[in-house]
Every structure is written in structure tokens, then in C-alpha cells.
Amino acid sequence: MHCSAAFSQAATSATAVPTISGSRHVGALHSSSSSSSCTLLIPSKPINLRFCGLRREAFGFSPSAFTRCSNSQRVRLPSRRRFKGSNVSASLGDNGIPKSFDYDLIIIGAGVGGHGAALHAVEKGLKTAIIEGDVVGGTCVNRGCVPSKALLAVSGRMRELQSEHHMKALGLQVHAAGYDRQGVADHANNLATKIRNNLTNSMKALGVDILTGVGTILGPQKVKFGTDNIVTAKDIIIATGSVPFVPKGIEVDGKTVITSDHALKLEFVPDWIAIVGSGYIGLEFSDVYTALGSEVTFIEALDQLMPGFDPEIGKLAQRVLINPRKIDYHTGVFATKITPAKDGKPVTIELIDAKTKEPKDTLEVDAALIATGRAPFTNGLGLENINVVTQRGFVPVDERMRVIDANGNLVPHLYCIGDANGKMMLAHAASAQGISVVEQVTGRDHVLNHLSIPAACFTHPEISMVGLTEPQAREKAEKEGFEVSVVKTSFKANTKALAENEGEGLAKLIYRPDNGEILGVHIFGLHAADLIHEASNAIALGTRIQDIKFAVHAHPTLSEVLDELFKAAKVKDHASNPVSEPVAV
């Protein structure tokens, strides 16, 4: 999206600065574009965005001239003096008098969402502060995606080394692969520390103020952090994230009944662990635990394992990730009571039927991991001070992440991104939402297309997806009256996958045959998480199948799985080419 905005600017500057050959080319491309989705994004006035590594200064614009927005009445930042709490409130009256604030933007929560927003805000010339009550990096970096990837990297290798059949097929001989639990745990912890430091340093280097303490909203444009520090900002972003959700009746002791927070420390590897919930988190942990020698029992409230995945992908994933492994499962049941191991007794799990609520079974296992999803972390945020009522803990927002109050009105200058709004509980979605908000507060309207945000599950092999699942697409097609087609390609036909002896996999494209629009792409197979971006970028940029199918992929690479997918799709002849023919330069 940024790029399409930058195109217009590049086009203008290209005439003046013809030496920038790259921008001329792109400018030419853009000027002949007729895509409505692209033109929507072009702002009415030039704005500053980086383009192909060139800072805005390269175009000779003064930053301040363009970051000033029509609705921005703030004074120039560097010369502004700090206000004490008392006179800030005095200046809040909406009477047209220019207001002064400590910051242009305050972000509450320094997770991946807050970090992404802060970096973009600095780039846009905003004076930015970020409030963190715990550790920089939030869930993702400290207790989520980051350390879990370290564990999964280990489990992937372990699994490979243990698979005698796989090794033999490659002509390799490995005897008695083993692991050191503490070593694995240290790897995860070291990675988290490293990424956390990187995050902290990147913000410090750019001049983002990191304010330590719990942030509470006192009123419009006013935030308290720590015990009694009060700061004001023109705009505030809530990015407080989430915590593991533990259903009632489950007693988490952190040792034998644990959440992902504890599991990532890998303090012990039980012989037998029950995982409550078979979503991303549960699935990834099942991959880790089975590779390290545990047996796993899934407990899933819905009738099917892996709800939320495209059914076909889910079915295949179950066949590869569940059935051949030391995993069994109970579906359609709730775990009503989980008691940690004590007094020489194992962990007991009481199951009831999800529909009839009748007692069904009692399990005795060595440990239980609660992976039933995540709950927003919005307590103590002071939302009552601005008349906002959470819905199941989530902060209600509109499609522009603007917070909605109890009466259904927008709260001015207040936004909420990431897990706290519950729109799409993924780290990179939070970051994208944050960037979108910064775009808005700097004068460029921006609505994030959530259907272009990819998601991935880092099992072995990986699962990834973007856009709609097939049932969702068919439902939408039914409602809106268009046709849906599906094509699939197998990793079995991909040279690189076969060279790796990892032919197990499927890629699936759901699209509109009438205009070539990509509705969804789902991949299960080797490096699926890395492969999805070609599809997610195509959706984000509005690229149609009839165009992307001519893009060239290096051979032999896994990316050819997608290449084949696009080429296999049948788009009706009359579908127009939204992007013009490439221009030779």
C-alpha cells in the first residue's frame, strides 16, 4: 500500500529528477494503471513515504511541510514546552485554541504492534512515546511467536533426525539423536532476549521515549504511567495485547498444568501431556512435545480438530501432523475441571460432552497445556474514564481502529490495535494496524485490508493461509452472486520439495474465474509460512491471477508450487488486465 502511494510521488519527481531511473519506470507503470483499488489509495496531496530505499529528503521536500495535516493544530514539536498536569486540562477545551501536548503520539504497550506503530510514527515525523508496564516486546517476543519458533526449530531437526526412514532415503546415517532440555530452553530464552534488545534499541535509536510503568487513560488525550506520571498526547494508541485465556475450573499451577507462558520455558518434558485446544498454539506445541518424546492428547471443544483452518487443509494436516504421531484426541468435549498433579497423583482432567454437558471421561496425564486461545489484556486501562465498555474484554473499534464508546460514538484521538481489539490476533496484524493508524493521524486515510494479512502455523511441515477459506468464499459468492473456483497443486510435483524428500503438501487457490481475483490461498507443506507472501502481497496490491501468472519463479524452488497454482487457474478470457503491459526502459 505504501508503495502505491509512493508511486504518485515518484511520478511527479521523476520528471524533475530524471536520473532516478527506477522511479521513472514505476511512475510509468502507475500512470497507466486503471485499477480502482490502487487509485483509492492515492492521497489528494503528496505525502512522504520512503520509496525504494530513498529517504524523503532525496526528493527535496521538507519533512515538516508535509507531515502537517489539515486537522493538526499542534505547535512545532521541538520548540514546545512541557505542560504540567493542571494546565493541560485547562487547555483541553475544544474552542479552537491551539493545544499543546507532550507528544504527538503515545502508544500504550510496547509489543510488536506498538513497536511497528512507533517506528512508522517516527518516520512520519511524530514525537512518539511508548509506555510499557512489563517488558518491551510483549507477548510475541517474550512469551509467544519468538521463543516458540526457537523450540520449533529444535523440534523440526529432532523429528528429521529421528526419522530413520527419511534419513535412509537421503542416504544419511544418524544414530541415536538426543537433546539436552536445558540447552533447548536456553536457545528459546536467548532468542527472546536478543529480539527484545533489538526492539528496544531500534526504538531508542530513533528517539522514541520508552516510559516504564502501567499506562492508564485518565481522560481524552491524557495518560498516566507508573504511579503518578501524567503525559498528554494528541493521539493515543492502545496496544496492550493479550494474555493466555484459561477457562473456568482449570487450576494453573505453572508446573503440571501450564499455559504457553510456562511451556515456552520448557522446564520439563512430560511423558504424556494433554493439550486443551487444537488451534495454532496447541498444534505448534504438539509438534514440539512429540518431537521431544512426549505423547500428546488433544482436547477440542468443537467437533473437529484444527477449527479455523480451511477444511481440506485441516484434513490433510491431521493426516500428517496428528495421525502418524503419538497423538490421540477427544473432540466435542469441554475440559471442565483440571487438577494439577499433587500428592503422588497425576493431573486429572474431567471432560463433559460439549453439547449434552454430560460427563464423558476423566483423563489422567502427566501435564496439561491450556491453549484455549488468548484473552485481551485491557484491565486497568482506565477505559471507564472515557466511557468505553469492553466487549468480552476487547476494546470495540471501527474499521480504522478508532475506539467506539458505550454510546456507539467514536472517541476522538483514541485508537486500539492488536490483540486488545480482537480483530485479528496476530503480531503482524497488530503492527499493520498500528501503521494504518499512524497513516490516519498524519493525514492520510487508510483502511487495512485484513483479508490480505497472512497467517502461519509453524508445525513441520508448516501451514499458512491468507484470505478466505473455501466455505467462507462459497458463502460470500452465494451472497454476492459470483462464481468461485478452486485449484490445487501438490508439493509432490515440485522438484525442490522432492529433493528435500518433503513431498507431502498441498497448495490451494480460491479465486473468482470471472475477474481473476484471488480470494484465498492455503498452503500446507515445506516452508509454507514463507511461501504465502506472494499470495498475500497479490491480494494486498490487488494483483489478478491473469497478471501474476506471468511472473517468473526461479527453478527449482518451492515458490514454483504457487507458480503452478496461478498457472493452473482458469480465468475467463474477457477478464481485463488491471495492470498495463510492462514498459521496457
Partner: protein
């Protein structure tokens, strides 16, 4: 892996019958185009009308033709197990075609009575791979049919077609469900449950030895009479490694106070080789050798850096030149493999392990080069930098325990080689010479273990004779 479903397929073929497998003998025409019928089906079609009521409810599941070129298919996995209730449209089995794996669905409700072709095996298109019974009562009858179908199916292994006992095995599921009412619940781990199903073991016949009396995978394998070697090893190995898990101790109970130290990689490799050696029929031949001349030579060349190991290796190599069969090996139990090079492996104890650095072309290199080479190899072995070809290319092994005062011993033949020589200490001994004079000479006992499939007693004896001549007249060693 692609799944193909008649309901989701993008190809607008109505009904997509290409993947249906289940054909009833009462409706043969409909499916005839895609599945051929096994002879056993046609026999029951006589007086169809009468038998229809009974017979038609037992259906054979055929190997479907997934492509026009497919003649045979491999069963990747059975999604359903014997005794599972199937409903129309459910995926039952995954069949591998040349390009992808495909789910095959049933067009009938029923019970999967028997699996005729198990996972991993192939069957020609149209052959019965499983039997579907409509009701519980017909399961036994279907099993009988499965037995005959299995016998008729040409591609499936005879082992798999052994008739399942007429009494249907109790379903593990049912046992599990009825168990909670009893006084003590039987608990089996997920993998144990899979093994129970796979080996058709009744859960009640297994005694759980795991924590809290639960049934472990090892218990099931024991009950199924499987040596817990192949499938347990991968599961037990990782479990035994982490320090806090004293879990895997399946065989003998540990004596109190004893500790279990897992093998290092090198030790594991030794263990594996030793077990493998048991499959080779070996015999041993011993020979006394007078070493005074060799000792004298050794004293002479020692200042030039020559070691006893190099001397012995060189002597053995020179003897092997004359007796190539002792340098041969038996790879497949059917032939001699004569090695082009004489590579003498020498067993070395190192850091609690055992490794055999190899002196390559020991017959061609002179003593001094050989000694130099040996020093390098030992250095590399100590620093664990030996390349695979430097320890696994031996054609004959030398093991010397003489320096410890061992006078004779017996070596185990390493896999892939024809013979190994065990060298004892050279000790002053009273010997009588040919003229009847007594004298004290240094005598060393060597003992060669050889693979009797290729090396016979006379071969070994002749080799040892040559070897002793070289050692007793060692001048040739320095040439």
C-alpha cells in the same frame, strides 16, 4: 498430497465416479466403467435375487483407478480401522497415484469389516482391498470373505490374508467406554492405544507398567510379542535423554542406586556393530610366532619413528597380498568381494570409545611412511577429526592387547570385513627347535577371527603361516 472429493472437486464431472471404490454386486453396471470385479464377486451373483438380501450387504472395496494409466495403487493409509462405522461420503482410505495421494470415499454406509490390503502395500486396480459389511452381524461373514479375497488377491502378501479369527476382536473403543463404570479405569497412552489397534491386542490382556499403572507402548509391544527393538528405540531414546526423566527402563528393573548413562554416539555405533556381527558365522585360528628377529628389527628402526603397530600392519599387509581371500569380504551372503586395496584398520581405545583408524594401502607404503601416517591418524582420532574414510575403509583389522601383557584373546569380526587379527604379548618362552635344542625365545600368539562363508580353515592357516614367516624373517618389511 491432494484430496479428491466428488463434492469439492473443481472438475465439473457430474458425480465424479472415478474415485468411488465401493461397488455392490447388486449394482454392478453403474460402476463397471471404473472398477473391475474380482472373481469372488461373480460367484455370489448366481441366483442373485434370493441371496441378494444377505450377500449384497457385504461389499468389497476395490482399488480405484485414479488415472487412466494407473494399473496398481499403493495404500498410503487407512483412515478408518476395522470395525469402524462408515457413512456415505466419508474418506476411508488414502491411495497413492503417480502424482498425488487421494482420499477415497465410500458410497455406502456400513462397517469396515476387514482390511485386505494393509498400509504400505500395493494392489492392482480392481482388486479387493477391504470388505464393507452393512451390519454388525455380517462382520464375521465379511471377514471370512476377506480371507478368501485376500487369498485371491494376487498382489497382496500371503501373510496379510491369513483369516482373521472368526470371533470379532473386541473393539478397544468399547472397552474404554465401559471401563469407567468399573472400579479402576484402564489408562493407556495415546501411542499405546495406536499400537493396541494396530496389533489387534485386547486392552484387557495388557498389564500396565507405566506411571500410575498406565499402559505404555512398551507394554503393548510386549503383549503383542514384538521385540521392543524397532519401534521402541526411537521413542525410548529421546525420553531417556533428558535428565529429569527416569522414565524409560523397559527391560530389567534397575538395582537400587544404579545409574543409567546413555551411550555416546561412538558407543552407540560400537554397540550396533557388535550386534550386527552376530549374523556372521565366524571361526578362529591361532598361531604361535617367534618374534626375536622382529624385536631386533624394531630396536633398529625405532629411532626412525617406526612403531610396532606399523611393523605388524606392514607384515599383515604383505601376507594379505599373497592371500587375497583373507582380505576379501562377504557383502551379501552370495559372493566374494575381493578388495582392490589392502587397508589395515587398527583398533584404538580412545576416550571411552573404540575406533579403528585405517592405514590405507599398507602393502604399498614403506614402513616409515606407514609410521608417519599412523601418528597422524592417532592425532586425528584424539581430536575427533577423523574423516569417515579414515575409519571405515578397512579391509582387515588388527587388534593388539600385547602391551597389557595379554597373551592371547579373541576378537569379534567387524561387519563388512573378512578377518580380524588379535595379537597377544610377546613373551620369553622355552622352545625346542627342530634339532631338539632348548632355547628361550620370544613367542607371541596371534588369533585370527574370520568369516567362514568366504574364508575356510586352510585359507586362514596358510595366511598365518605366511604371516609368521614374514615376522620371523622381517628383513622384507624394510624393503
Amino acid at each position: 498430497m491432494a484430496t479428491l472429493s466428488p463434492f469439492l472437486s473443481k472438475t465439473p464431472l457430474s458425480n465424479t465416479p472415478t474415485i468411488s471404490f465401493s461397488s455392490s454386486i447388486s449394482t454392478p453396471l453403474k460402476w463397471k466403467s471404473i472398477t473391475s470385479f474380482s472373481p469372488s464377486g461373480s460367484s455370489s451373483s448366481r441366483s442373485r435375487r434370493r441371496i441378494f438380501i444377505v450377500q449384497s450387504k457385504i461389499r468389497e472395496i476395490f482399488m480405484p483407478a485414479l488415472s487412466s494409466t494407473m494399473t496398481e495403487g499403493k495404500i498410503v493409509s487407512w483412515i478408518k480401522s476395522e470395525g469402524d462405522v462408515l457413512s456415505k461420503g466419508e474418506s476411508v482410505v488414502v491411495v497413492e497415484s503417480d502424482k498425488a495421494d487421494m482420499d477415497v470415499e465410500t458410497f455406502y454406509d456400513g462397517i469396515l469389516a476387514a482390511i485386505v490390503v494393509p498400509e504400505g502395500e500395493s494392489a492392482p486396480v480392481g482388486a479387493a482391498i477391504g470388505i464393507l459389511a452393512e451390519t454388525e452381524a455380517e462382520v464375521a461373514q465379511a471377514k471370512a470373505k476377506a480371507a478368501s479375497a485376500g487369498a485371491a488377491a494376487p498382489a497382496s502378501h500371503p501373510v496379510t490374508s491369513t483369516p482373521v479369527p472368526a470371533v470379532s476382536p473386541p473393539e478397544p473403543k468399547k472397552v474404554a467406554e465401559s471401563a469407567p463404570s468399573g472400579p479402576r479405569k484402564t489408562v493407556a497412552t495415546p501411542y499405546a492405544k495406536k499400537l493396541l489397534k494396530q496389533h489387534k491386542v485386547d486392552i484387557n490382556s495388557v498389564v500396565g507398567t507405566g506411571p500410575f499403572g498406565r499402559i505404555t507402548p512398551e507394554d503393548v509391544e510386549k503383549a503383542a510379542g514384538i521385540a521392543p527393538s524397532k519401534s521402541v528405540a526411537p521413542s525410548a531414546a529421546p525420553a531417556a535423554l533428558p535428565k529429569p526423566a527416569p522414565a524409560a527402563a523397559p527391560a530389567a528393573p534397575l538395582l537400587p542406586g544404579s545409574t543409567v548413562v546413555p551411550f555416546t554416539t561412538m558407543q552407540a555405533a560400537v554397540s550396533k556393530n557388535m550386534i550386527e556381527s552376530l549374523s556372521v558365522p565366524t571361526f578362529r585360528v591361532g598361531y604361535p610366532i617367534i618374534t626375536d628377529a622382529l624385536d631386533a628389527l624394531y630396536e633398529k628402526v625405532k629411532p626412525k619413528g617406526v612403531t610396532m603397530t606399523a611393523l605388524l600392519a606392514k607384515a599383515a599387509a604383505m601376507a594379505l597380498v599373497q592371500h587375497p581371500v583373507v582380505n576379501a569380504s562377504c557383502k551379501d551372503g552370495k559372493s566374494f568381494t575381493y578388495n582392490a586395496n589392502i587397508n589395515i584398520a587398527v583398533a584404538v581405545a580412545i576416550n571411552g570409545g573404540l575406533i579403528t583408524p585405517v592405514l590405507q594401502d599398507a602393502d604399498k607404503l614403506d614402513l616409515y611412511l606407514l609410521s608417519q601416517k599412523w601418528k597422524e591418524l592417532v592425532e586425528k582420532a584424539r581430536s575427533k577429526q577423523l574423516q569417515p574414510h579414515e575409519y571405515n575403509s578397512g579391509t582387515f583389522t588388527l587388534s593388539n592387547l600385547g602391551m597389557f601383557g595379554v597373551d592371547r584373546f579373541d576378537a569379534i569380526l567387524p561387519p563388512g570385513q573378512g578377518a580380524i587379527m588379535a595379537v597377544g604379548a610377546s613373551k620369553p618362552t622355552v622352545v625346542a627347535d627342530a634339532d631338539g635344542f632348548f632355547g628361550v625365545k620370544s613367542k607371541m600368539l596371534v588369533n585370527v577371527t574370520a568369516d567362514h562363508r568366504i574364508i575356510y580353515g586352510a585359507d586362514l592357516a596358510a595366511f598365518l603361516q605366511t604371516f609368521s614367516k614374514i615376522v620371523e624373517n622381517p628383513e622384507s618389511l624394510t624393503l
